[in-house]
């Protein structure tokens, strides 16, 4: 394996892509948008929220037929029921969120300037439970995914709007960015290797979805899971695919990664929960 790593590094360094002249989030997004505009000239950037289904006609047809009666409807119903069931102290989730939690998903994750940490929608749900004397839910799937699926469904069409209020937030953004571009795992691949450099190409029978617009439809119902799952459950799965040991869900690494990954798609419409392969 040492040989492979050593030689793949040679491969990586020979295909160097000049680093962006000055790295600040706004210019990052411009660079990413022009990168994908060149890569998919005949696809409007907003349509990239449909992921592979904006690129491949064969899978798009199947997806549209399945969206006739989407498999995530049950998750939304369950989520709504959970969301509206009051806690033992009589309060409910609506009391913890702006606008009662309706149509707020597009503002997540946000940077909590007091606690100096990225707060994802799932973390906010559990914070709300703990503040009201309830046990936190387990992350990734199950009730928490149903609740955030329902909340996402109330934000359909809203443009993603993640903000970076201060330097601490920018640092978290930069850490997420470094994670996204770092090669890891025994297969020595980075998120960017598949979802930027090879976006739209096939890896065996799967077409690699572009990173831009990739967060818009989460939580997502994946046929493989036969249930909805959060974006961090997908991070965990992807890491294991490249044989990297995954981090704990809602760990700082994954929250910062979600922060960067979502900020990248600012302006694109929420279309979650979506159904995917």
């Amino acid at each position: 394996m040492k040989g492979i790593i050593y030689l793949t590094l040679a491969l990586a360094s020979s295909f160097t892509v000049a680093t962006s002249t000055f790295a600040d989030p706004v210019s990052d997004n411009e660079a990413i948008r022009s990168y994908f505009a060149d890569k998919f000239p005949d696809i409007a950037l907003e349509d990239l929220v449909d992921g592979v289904y904006a690129i491949d006609k064969n899978s798009r047809d199947q997806w549209l037929q399945i969206e006739e009666f989407p498999p995530y409807e049950e998750a939304i119903d369950k989520g709504k029921k959970l969301f509206t069931t009051p806690f033992t102290n009589g309060k409910d989730y609506a009391s913890c969120f702006d606008n009662g939690g309706i149509g707020v998903k597009q503002n997540y994750p946000y940077f909590d300037t007091e606690k100096n940490q990225v707060v994802t929608l799932e973390l906010a749900v559990n914070n709300c439970r703990v503040q009201n004397g309830e046990q936190p839910l387990s992350y990734g799937k199950g009730p928490i995914a149903y609740i955030t699926s329902y909340m996402a469904s109330t934000s359909k069409g809203q443009p993603i709007n993640v903000t970076i209020p201060n330097d601490a937030a920018k640092a978290a953004y930069e850490e997420g960015k470094q994670f996204f571009y770092s090669r890891r795992g025994q297969l020595n691949m980075a998120c960017a290797t598949c979802h930027m450099a090879s976006a739209g190409q096939r890896l065996r029978a799967d077409i690699l979805s572009p990173a831009l617009g990739q967060v818009s439809h989460f939580p997502a119902y994946r046929f493989k899971w036969e249930d909805v799952g959060t974006i961090q459950r997908r991070y965990e799965g992807c890491n294991v695919q490249i044989r990297a040991k995954p981090f704990k869900l809602q760990s700082e690494q994954y929250r910062n990664l979600e922060y960067f990954h979502t900020y990248m798609s600012n302006g694109l419409p929420i279309n979650g929960p979506g159904s995917r392969k």
Partner: protein, 136 residues
């Protein structure tokens, strides 16, 4: 080897490795055996300070101790592979069965994977910006 021979070889080596990304059956054993041959290739790691020495005259106990030591170090870098835990479990299983050589090989391999993950972390730290799309 001239530069473009390295490139051609690198690409050939990288391609199957990339393809295995999408195979669901985790062919751990195949990877383990390729690692064992890898050990014979004496290419130097990037820096000596982190590398925990694994040489043949160490006994099983010492290897187990070094494996735990290098694991703590590797965890700090955060680039540990998902394959290493299983190798350590197999190591303990073989040790319990009394198969000392088998156990020693597995612990040496686990140490190697932890060291490689640290080298990967160091490389990523210096070079992650290479994959950022050009800001033209």
């Amino acid at each position: 080897m001239t530069k473009n021979n390295i490139l051609r070889l690198a690409f050939l080596l990288a391609l199957p490795v990339m393809l295995t990304a999408c195979s669901d059956k985790d062919n751990g054993t195949e990877a383990e055996s390729s690692i064992m041959e890898q050990q014979k290739l004496d290419s130097k790691p990037f820096s000596q300070d982190v590398m925990i020495k694994t040489s043949d005259e160490l006994d099983l106990q010492e290897l187990m101790h070094r494996q735990a030591q290098v694991e703590r170090q590797a965890d700090k870098y955060g680039f540990v592979w998902s394959t290493t835990d299983a190798i350590i479990d197999n190591g303990y299983a073989e040790a319990k069965k009394g198969n000392e050589n088998g156990a020693k090989a597995l612990f040496k391999e686990a140490i190697l994977q932890f060291n490689l993950s640290m080298e990967q972390a160091k490389y990523a730290n210096q070079n992650w910006k290479l994959l950022i799309p050009e800001n033209d």
